[in-house]
Structures are given as structure tokens and as C-alpha cells.
């Protein structure tokens, strides 16, 4: 994956260079052709021709950039040669020498697999955190219009406090005050249900499922059932649109999924079994079950709290942008507060809110790199650890930037696709 991204970067760089130089040459040729073909009186003198000035300015800029780049690259090579740093990407296949908690990775695994493992941890934080922040922010944004004084003031207080402190401070505060010192240590972990629920400042663990015989087939059947459930839901929506009969799509979809899953489970002879978290002799959860490391929980909670304030402000602004008549009409139809927001206000507000929300999602993903301060093993932290394993810094920083660029691009593409769906289709 990393090699692929590097290849893409190289191609993009070459493509851009070809485009820029090509455009420049084309412009120069076009200018001289125009000057040659037009009459003597119509052309300005060369040094007063706007196009010529533009071309000269661009040539100067291009040579300045190339010159500065060559100079800096020369310095860079001299310095890296002096300290014996190789500027190749061979190190990606060397053993990383680090382990990641709750990850099957071993110290002998390659650098690239360690980075990819960290990147997936980043994606996990984002996939949990962004929906949670959206939910919190929307609720708080609505709460600021509540007719209830306490709710309104609390929402305002929350937004005005957390919006104005740095996300890093929120993260370290949540980690040290709530998670590290607020929760019991691993030895005195809170286990109200024995090994069914374990909470300490080290890990949170509950039982999970573990694959047995036929698990591969079962997984594929479940995936098929999920797709079928989606199709059934879509069909019910169509029925509702066409006939007005109650759609009950959620019920239908669930029934489909659970029915197929149950039959497959029985037919395949119990392809999954329960796996309880295993404790080592110091009382720490170390394998099996569903485990969450507390630094990740703290990171996600803190970022949700911080990003929630920004989303709340966006939601508040976009609700104010919905025409007041809409709310009054909803009230005149005697819709409840929930119905008013669910069917009248929010669908219209979301259209206004979505573009700024995308940039908040991007901020969320970029802020997840602050995990480096509390030791959650995501991309930035892994790469920082690799510096400590005397892996080459320049290449690693390039990869770090590239991964976040890819992530930003991915998120904004998804966001823009959703945004296009949300907007009113014009004529």
C-alpha cells in the first residue's frame, strides 16, 4: 500500500511537471503565432504585451523554484551523505523492531506492515469518532434552541468552553484526569460480571466471537445476507413510494439478515464460538475477546468532545439559515419537536451544514495524529517510534504526509459525494 502511494506521488509529480512545462511552451508558441498572424498596428510592443509579461514572470518563477530546489537538494544530499543516510525505500521491507499492543504484529515484521497497522488504527478512530462527533454536535446544536433554559445554557457553556481550548489539551486532560487516574489499575480492574466485562485504565474488554470450522464460508454468507438486507430495504422503500403502504424497511432488513444468519449458523454446525478476554497473571487483559486500549478510548472521547463543539456551531448556524416559516408551518401542522427537527428542519439544515462539516471531518482525522502525546499507537505514533528505531526520518516523514494526504483526499471525496446527494437537484 505504501509503495503504491509512493508510486502515485511520483506519477503525480511527473504529470504535473509535464502539464506545467507543456502549458508554458504552448502559451509561448501561441503568443508568437498570434503576434505573427495579427496586423502590425494591432500588436503591442513585446515588453508591453500582457501575455509576454505573464510568460516572462512564469519563466522567472519556474527557474527560481528549480534553482531553490536544486540548491536545497544539494545541501540535503551533502548532509545525508555526511551522516550516511541512504535515500532509498529499501528499509520498508526491513524488520521494524517494534510491537503494537493488541496487534498480531511481531518485532520481526516489516516497517511497512507496522505503518499500515498504525494507519488502520487511525481509520478505526475516525470511523468511530466522526459519527459520534456528528451525533453529539447535532444534539448540542439543537439544544441551543431548546425552550428549556438549563439545556440551552449548558449547551452554550459546553460549546464556548471546549471550542476555545486546544484539542491537544483536551486530549491530555481527558487521558490523565479521566482515564488514567479516574479508572482502576489493571490489577484492581472493575469486573462486575467476572470476565464478561473488564474495565481498567489499561483496557476495556468484553467477550467477542471467534471463528471455528466453516468460518470462512459463514463470513461470506453474512456478507451476502447484508447485501440482500440492503436490497430488501430498498425494495420496501420503493413499495412505500409507489403505494404508500407502510414500508417498515428496518424491520424487513433486520429480519432478512438475522434469518439468513441463523439458518447459516445451524447448517454450518456452529461456525463461531464465544471468546472471553484472557488475563495474564498481573490481571491485565492480553488476548481474545473484544478489547479497546484506553489511550484510544481517551483519544476518541476527547476528539469527539472537541470536534462536537465545532459541529454544534455549524449545526446551529445552519438551523438559523432555515427559513423561519418552515418551523412555523411545522408547528401549525402540530408536529412534535422531534418530528419538526427530523422531517422539516434538519433535512434542510443539513444541506447548508454539510460542506463545512466535511472540513470538520478532515480536522478530526488530522487531529487524531495528536495521539502521539498519550501513546495511542496510530500512524503518527508508530512513525515516531520508528524514528527511535533509527529508521530514516526523511522517507518516514514523506510517508506520514502521504498517508494523511490520502486520508484527507478519501474523506473529502466521500464527503463531496454525500454532499452532491444532499443538494437540491436543480432543473
Amino acid at each position: 500500500m505504501i509503495q503504491f502511494l509512493l508510486l502515485l506521488l511520483g506519477l503525480a509529480a511527473i504529470g504535473t511537471a509535464i502539464y506545467v512545462v507543456g502549458r508554458l511552451i504552448y502559451d509561448i508558441v501561441a503568443m508568437f503565432r498570434d503576434r505573427a498572424s495579427s496586423d502590425e498596428g494591432d500588436t503591442a510592443v513585446l515588453w508591453r504585451d500582457v501575455k509576454a509579461i505573464g510568460i516572462v514572470a512564469q519563466l522567472v518563477a519556474l527557474f527560481a523554484i528549480i534553482g531553490a530546489g536544486t540548491y536545497l537538494w544539494g545541501n540535503f544530499r551533502a548532509r545525508t551523505d555526511a551522516i550516511g543516510l541512504k535515500l532509498t525505500f529499501d528499509f520498508l521491507d526491513q524488520p521494524a523492531g517494534i510491537t503494537i499492543a493488541d496487534n498480531p504484529l511481531i518485532a520481526g515484521d516489516s516497517v511497512s506492515s507496522a505503518i499500515v497497522a498504525g494507519f488502520f488504527n487511525t481509520i478505526r478512530v475516525i470511523m468511530v469518532g466522526i459519527p459520534a462527533a456528528l451525533l453529539l454536535g447535532t444534539l448540542v446544536g439543537i439544544a441551543r434552541f431548546s425552550s428549556n433554559w438549563i439545556v440551552r445554557k449548558l449547551a452554550t457553556g459546553y460549546v464556548e468552553f471546549f471550542r476555545n481550548i486546544p484539542p491537544l489539551v483536551v486530549i491530555v486532560f481527558v487521558w490523565s484526569a479521566v482515564f488514567l487516574n479516574g479508572f482502576p489499575t489493571a490489577q484492581e480492574a472493575w469486573k462486575p460480571l467476572g470476565e464478561w466485562f473488564i474495565l481498567s485504565n489499561n483496557r476495556f474488554a468484553i467477550p467477542s466471537i471467534m471463528g471455528q470450522d466453516n468460518f470462512g464460508a459463514f463470513r461470506w454468507i453474512l456478507l451476502g445476507a447484508l447485501l440482500l438486507a440492503g436490497a430488501v430495504g430498498y425494495w420496501r422503500t420503493k413499495v412505500f413510494d409507489n403505494t404508500g403502504a407502510p414500508h417498515r424497511r428496518v424491520l424487513w432488513a433486520f429480519a432478512t439478515f438475522l434469518g439468513i444468519g441463523l439458518i447459516a449458523y445451524l447448517v454450518l454446525g456452529g461456525p463461531v464460538s464465544m471468546s472471553k478476554p484472557m488475563l495474564d497473571d498481573r490481571g491485565r487483559v492480553f488476548s481474545d475477546g473484544f478489547r479497546i486500549q484506553m489511550p484510544f478510548a481517551a483519544l476518541t472521547v476527547a476528539l469527539v468532545i472537541y470536534t462536537g463543539t465545532h459541529i454544534a456551531e455549524i449545526v446551529r448556524g445552519s438551523i438559523m439559515a432555515v427559513h423561519k416559516g418552515q418551523e412555523e408551518a411545522a408547528n401549525a401542522l402540530a408536529l412534535s419537536t422531534f418530528q419538526r427537527y427530523r422531517f422539516v428542519v434538519l433535512p434542510q439544515a443539513m444541506r447548508v451544514a454539510f460542506p463545512p462539516l466535511i472540513s470538520q471531518f478532515l480536522n478530526f482525522s488530522k487531529n487524531s495524529s495528536l495521539a502521539i502525546a498519550i501513546g495511542a499507537t496510530e500512524t503518527t505514533n508508530i512513525i515516531n517510534n520508528l524514528f527511535g528505531q533509527s529508521q530514516p526520518a526523511p522517507q518516514l516523514i514523506l510517508i506520514l504526509a502521504l498517508l494523511y494526504l490520502a486520508l484527507s483526499l478519501l474523506l473529502s471525496t466521500i464527503g463531496n459525494l454525500i454532499n452532491r446527494k444532499l443538494q437540491i437537484v436543480g432543473r
Binding site: Q58, F161, P166, P167, L168, V169, T380, A401, L405
Partner: protein
Amino acid sequence: MAGKDAMYLGDDITAALATDSSPPSTKLSPADWAKKNLFSSGVNSLLTIVVGLAALALLWFGLNWVISADFEIIRANLRIFMIGQFPKEELWRPWTSAYVLILGAGLTTGALARNSHELDLSQEIESHKEGWGSMLRRFWPVLLVSIFFVSFARTLLPFIGLAGAFALIVVAREIGWRMPAAIRERAIFIGVALFIVSMLVIAGTSRLGGYALGLVAFLWMMSELSRVDSLPKGFAGTLIRSGIALVVAAMVAIIQNLIPHDGFGWENWGGLHISLFTAVVGISLGMPFGILLALGRKSDLPVLKTASVIFIEFVRGVPLISLLLFSNLMLPLFLPIDFERPADLTLAIIVITGFSAAYIAEIVRGGLQAVPKGQTEAAQASGMSAASVQRLIVLPQALRAVIPAMVGQFIALFKDTSLLSIIGILEFLRVSDTSNSQQAFVGKGLASVTYLFVAIGYWAFAYTMSKESRRLEAKLGVGHR
């Protein structure tokens, strides 16, 4: 209206007209207010009780925690929190610096307020001098938190110092308000010059200080000379003006260097001071680059456009921490081989300048798009050159429209300076880590106390500025046109 029987339709109106023409009071009795705002319906009552109890529990828990917490760690480290590892016998430097800074801020804001007041009066807009009550409402978080900070001091000196600072800002603002118009017009230059002088009080005279002061002198001279009508117009005039301004700037820089005064460069600074300083420097240095990048992105010259777009999108697409790691690990590698490695903060400021330039570029681009196309066309029609159109017509309007967003960017940058702690610069947040590793406090679980203290510090500045940004937005009428 209780007595229904004796009254006829219109009686109350007649009575009201006879006695008082003001509208009926909208003030509710406490019971009515509570009914309206807290218990208007069953759901609302339930919400009030549940949320109210939760809030009370949180408050109770928080108060308990604050009362039982040990604030000795803050008392012992207050100086480090404010200005870092500064030698105790040199404390007069930060104090003098703060006073010079406050003097400059007071004079400049007073003068600018008066200027805007005079402008409003000349356009027959109603305008009053802003009272101190209103100022207090605008700046209470910073005032309150600075008192809160000083309350941890062990000696009397910081109390006296803070009281003096409050007195100075009042006096300086009044002087700024009363200054003659000729001086008031130059208030910005005075403010910037005093800002640099205040930094030089700590840092001592240095070549960098000379450059900074020289730059201010150059810009100031250019602005002065542009008022002189006897100089020739056009290219020759510009050449003469820049020549004179350059000579003056060089003289200022040389004089600055001649004054023997050594101090502590910013590699020795720290605490809240460095957080504020980095944010101010980052945004001021980022501004010119950001404007250039925005113009580059908007231009139709492919080389400039591509370079601007690549820079802006790259910087905005990666987290700041990766850029700071770059500054720490890679930036020194680009220097000539016989160069010494600069201080960490110098490297960080270079990167932060580029970082804020990219974000400012996007803000300015928004402003440029908000300027109606007719403005450019009208300017072109009157025969202005492309550079003059941008400089005299488009940019002033675009920049005015983005002032609130720029304040927002400043707040974001101020909050982002907390990331400097990760690359080991002793800024405000990092002091809480270092103080928790001191022998007297290590392993006592006091991190949350110091983090809360730091959070309140950040909050006071950021919240005040965000209120100011909203005020500016309302005042400039951005978004209402």
C-alpha cells in the same frame, strides 16, 4: 388585568394612554419565568430535573475536586508557566517588555478607536466613545484569568505589577484617544514598532531585531513619503522613495545594533509568553505569503497557479504535527553543511509561517471571490495596471471582508502552538509535563491539576478573541450584504 367585571373593551388602552405610553413590561416574575423556561411541559420538566441534577452533580464533583486539589505545583511553577526557565534576577526584562507591549497596545487601540469614531462622525453615523464598562464586558476573560494566575504568586510583586499594567492600559488608551490626528494616523506603525521593541527588551539587540525594526522603518518611511507631493510620480518616484526609505531603515537597523544591550534569545523563552509570541509571529509572517499564495491560486498563469495549489493543498492536507516533525528532523538537513543547527523554535516558526500562510491563502481567496467583478472591470476600464488593480482596488476590499476569519485563524494558530510541546519546546502546555516530573511532584497524579490550569489559560485568550471576532463581524457587516 384582573378586574374583568368593571372594565369595558378599550378601557385598559385608554388608561394606559392616559398614564404611560411605554410598552407593557416584559419582565416576568421568577415563578412565571421558571414556568416558561423550565417547566413549560411534562417533557420539559423532566428534562429540567434530569439535566439540572446531572449539572449539579458535575458541579459538586468539580468543586470538590478543585477544593481538595493541591495547587502547590502551580505556585511553585508559576514563573515557568508564564515565561519559562527565565533567570530570576533578569525578571525585570519580561516585566518591562510587558509594559512596553501594553503601552503600545493601549496607544494603538485608543488611536484606532478614535479614528473610527471620527470617521463615523464625518459620515454622520451615530458614534460614542466606548465606555470602560463595555471594555470590561469585552475583555473580562483575560482580565479575570490574569488575576487568577497572579493569585498563585508567592510574593507581592506580581500583584503590584498586574495592577500597574491595568493602570497603564487605561492611561495609554486615553492618551491614544487624545493624540493629535497626525499621530493617530500612524498608530499602527507605532504599535508594531513598540511590539518589536518590547521583544528586544527581552532578547537584547540582535541582527534579527535589526531586520525587524528596519522593515518597520522602511514601511513607515514609504507610507510617509507617499504623502510627499513634491517627489516625482511613476517609476522614478517609487525608486527615489524606496531609496530614501532603505537608507532610513538601514540607519535604524545599525543604530539598533550599536546600542549595547544583550539579553535572552528565544531559545531561552518559554511558557505562555512563547505560545502567544509564536502565534503572533506566525500569523504576521504568514499574512504576506498567504496573500501572495491566494493571488497565485487565482491567477491564470499555470506555473504560479500550480505551485500555489500544490503548496496550499499539501500543507492543508497533512496534520501540523507532521510538519513540526519535519521542522525538527528534516529542515536542518536543507541548510548548507557548514551552518549550525538553528534553535528548535526558529525551525518551528519557519514551518508555522508556511502553515498559516496556506490557511490564510484560503481565507483571502474567499475574500477575493467576494469582491464583485465590476470592481476589477471598472479599475481596468480606468486604465490601471494589473498590479494597481489588485493593490488599490481588490485587496483592500477582500482583506476587509476577511478580518473576522483572520481573527479565527489567529485563535486556531494560538491553540495549535500547544503542539510545540510534542517536539520539546517549553511552551505553556509542556510546562505542566515538566513540572509534573519535578522531584517534589513526580508521581503524585497532579497532571490533571496543571492541565486544567493550562486549559483555563488557553480558554481566556481564545474566548476573548472569538468574542472580538464576532463583534468585528457584526461591526463590519460581513455577510449582511
